[in-house]
């Protein structure tokens, strides 16, 4: 008599616990409500190291205090993981490239705004071949790169520039952590990667950079992305971050002691030295001045670039199985025009906050 009863109640208790666990597991579905504490994820990359410095030098906190909010700047070791955490709603913002912003959060339905255009890659990403300095020799080779990343996009653009397509090469997916190791083996002859790995490859005696992002300037853009709903409900978050960013920019761009100290600290946090970091900065078009960033983002360039990018993303299925054309996700630009679906705008360029920084009204 007692036995089945007890088992059933145990079962019920277990079921209850399971459901409770499921409820708790629902991660912080980014809420649109007003709140006063925010989390921003960043990962190591030359153009994002300022966030590391801004965090450790207290600049982010200073600006957060000015707007009476709290901002937690969190380093994530893996770039893609940081984007996935943002997309899942664990963070309110993330450092990201324009292409990944479209392919990951925007394509997943997370409305994302890009309030700060930090820089664009101007040689930080490159196609490297062994024993030749002609890009056309890439034909028929196995090319090692992180598939579906900006490297893949750069390769597509490089091939386009010499009238080839991806069918003329074989793409081998290789993790960014292993690209230097694999390139030093004899059977790997072609690779596409970004800094700091690119400078390692460049240093190898038989290697030649045959195409790099300075051949397509302004197409690989590094930005800070914020969840649009969070930003709209809490514009002070955008103001605090933008204010902090341009204070960091002012400090790091100087040749005085403060500037050198800032760059040295960024270099250390990135695992290199001042010379190494400055070499990477040299191939990065940083927008130290907010007015330059405003000029860039309000020009025709972002729209032309995003049209390329969305075509690339659609051709490789990055917009999801339900996307029937590159128009599936709408991209809004600073003049209010929309590329793609007006009903499904998920990625937004804005100059609002950078303009405030340029006019010194933050």
């Amino acid at each position: 008599m007692k036995r089945p009863n007890r088992t059933r109640s145990t079962a019920r208790r277990v079921a209850g616990a399971g459901l409770l666990a499921a409820m708790l597991a629902l991660p912080g579905l980014a809420s649109a409500q007003e709140k006063d504490s925010f989390r921003i994820a960043w990962s190591i990359y030359v153009g994002w190291m300022p966030w590391s410095y801004g965090d450790s030098a207290g600049i982010v906190d200073k600006w957060a205090d000015r707007y009476d909010i709290e901002i937690d700047v969190v380093q994530i070791n893996d770039y893609i993981e940081s984007i996935n955490l943002y997309t899942a709603g664990e963070f309110d913002g993330v450092t990201i490239t324009n292409m990944d912003a479209l392919a990951i959060p925007a394509a997943s339905g997370v409305d994302t705004t890009l309030p700060i255009i930090g820089d664009f890659s101007n040689g930080n990403d490159g196609v490297v071949l062994k024993d030749t300095d002609e890009l056309t020799d890439i034909e028929g080779q196995r090319v090692n790169l992180v598939e579906l990343s900006v490297s893949h996009y750069l390769l597509a653009r490089a091939l386009e520039s010499v009238g080839m397509s991806e069918r003329d090469v074989t793409v081998v997916n290789t993790s960014d952590a292993d690209i230097v190791g694999t390139f030093s083996t004899p059977d790997v002859t072609a690779a596409v990667t970004w800094n700091p790995q690119l400078s390692e490859l460049r240093a190898m005696p038989e290697a030649n950079v045959v195409f790099d992002s300075s051949d397509i300037p302004g197409e690989i853009i590094d930005t800070l992305a914020l969840n649009t709903e969070v930003l709209e409900a809490n514009p002070e978050l955008g103001k605090a971050l933008t204010g902090a960013w341009y204070e960091i920019m002012a400090r790091m761009s100087g040749d005085d002691e403060t500037g050198v100290d800032a760059r040295t600290r960024m270099a250390e946090a990135a695992g290199t030295d001042l010379a190494g970091y400055e070499a990477q900065l040299a191939s990065t078009q940083m927008f130290y001045d907010a007015a330059d960033a405003v000029e860039f983002v309000t020009s025709d360039q972002p729209e032309a670039t995003m049209d390329n990018v969305r075509q690339f993303a659609y051709d490789r299925g990055l917009l999801g199985a339900t996307a029937t054309s590159p128009d599936f996700v709408g991209i809004e630009f600073t003049d209010g025009s929309v590329l793609g679906s007006e009903d499904n705008v998920k990625l937004r360029f804005t100059s609002e906050y950078m303009e405030m920084a340029a006019e010194d009204t933050l």
Binding site: A15, A21, A22, A25, N84, G109, N173, G181, D187
Partner: protein, 273 residues
């Protein structure tokens, strides 16, 4: 009053209890998935069961837009080839090295500590060396599996050989058996079923190394696909792939168990006694 340790579920109850954790996981998943989808219908993190079923059907039947291959089968074939090659090499090497080091003191003295030391190296840490030695193609993937599972399979076989009672070896010698004959007729037949046991235990690790190797450099494979689509959070591909890998791993383990029972009925009978 029956003590808890003496209470056994009946047949029906046993079946229900067996299903319970699975059902709980599915229910918990569905609850979480529905909550996320209600919030954002385009959410990719926890796709609905229907979406995953559709996605799996598409992967298993429709040729890919890019390569024209049917992804699931192409990936499965690529991965199984690597896995089976790695496991087969390890089995052959383990039985050869394990039985000889177990039987011959001079060999054991020479190789055993070396193998023990080798087994302590986490294979993933010396990947760049494996790249240089075996390239970044298929061979390095197979070798990573071999490096991962062979050392402990060898040590296991060696220990099994050492467990063979001395009386048997003495008896074989009094019957005039040479070292070679004893190896062939006494040691290997007795350790072969142990090899299958060791392989079953090694399979989990073999899968782990396979997936790890496919994450590093690959054009095809189950692990490759998962790492590739992870870039854009395509859980409707990842979750069915994980389920598929689990099913494959389970089937392999089951087949090895059946094979052992079929090849060595005496061994299985002896074990359950």
């Amino acid at each position: 009053m029956k003590r808890l340790i003496n209470q056994r579920p009946g047949r029906a109850m046993g079946g229900l209890l067996m299903l319970l954790p699975f059902v709980l996981v599915v229910v918990a998943y569905m609850a979480a998935s529905m909550a996320r989808l209600a919030d954002n219908p385009d959410d990719k993190l926890l796709p609905s069961l229907m979406t995953m079923a559709d996605s799996f059907a598409r992967l298993a039947t429709e040729p890919s837009r890019r390569t024209g291959e049917i992804l699931l089968w192409a990936d499965t074939a690529a991965s199984l080839k690597r896995l089976l090659a790695g496991v087969a090499i390890s089995m052959v090497a383990a039985i050869i090295i394990g039985t000889t080091t177990g039987l011959i003191p001079y060999l054991r003295r020479t190789l055993s500590p070396f193998i023990a030391a080798l087994a302590m190296i986490p294979p993933l840490t010396i990947l760049p060396i494996l790249f240089i030695a075996f390239g970044v193609g298929e061979l390095s993937k197979i070798m990573l599996i071999v490096f991962g599972i062979l050392p402990f399979m060898m040590r296991d076989i060696q220990q099994r050989v050492e467990e063979i009672p001395d009386e048997q070896l003495v008896k074989a010698q009094t019957l005039g058996g040479s070292t070679w004959q004893i190896l062939l007729r006494v040691t290997i037949p007795q350790t072969l079923p142990r090899l299958f046991d060791a392989t079953r235990l090694a399979l989990g690790a073999a899968w782990l190394f396979l997936i790890a190797s496919e994450a590093i450099a690959a054009e095809q494979g189950l692990g490759y696909r998962i790492f590739l689509v992870r870039r854009y959070l395509d859980m409707q591909t990842i979750i069915p792939y994980v389920a598929w890998i689990t099913l494959l791993a389970f089937s392999l383990d089951w087949s090895l168990r059946r094979l052992t029972a079929w090849l060595f009925p005496w061994y299985v009978a002896g074990r359950s006694a």
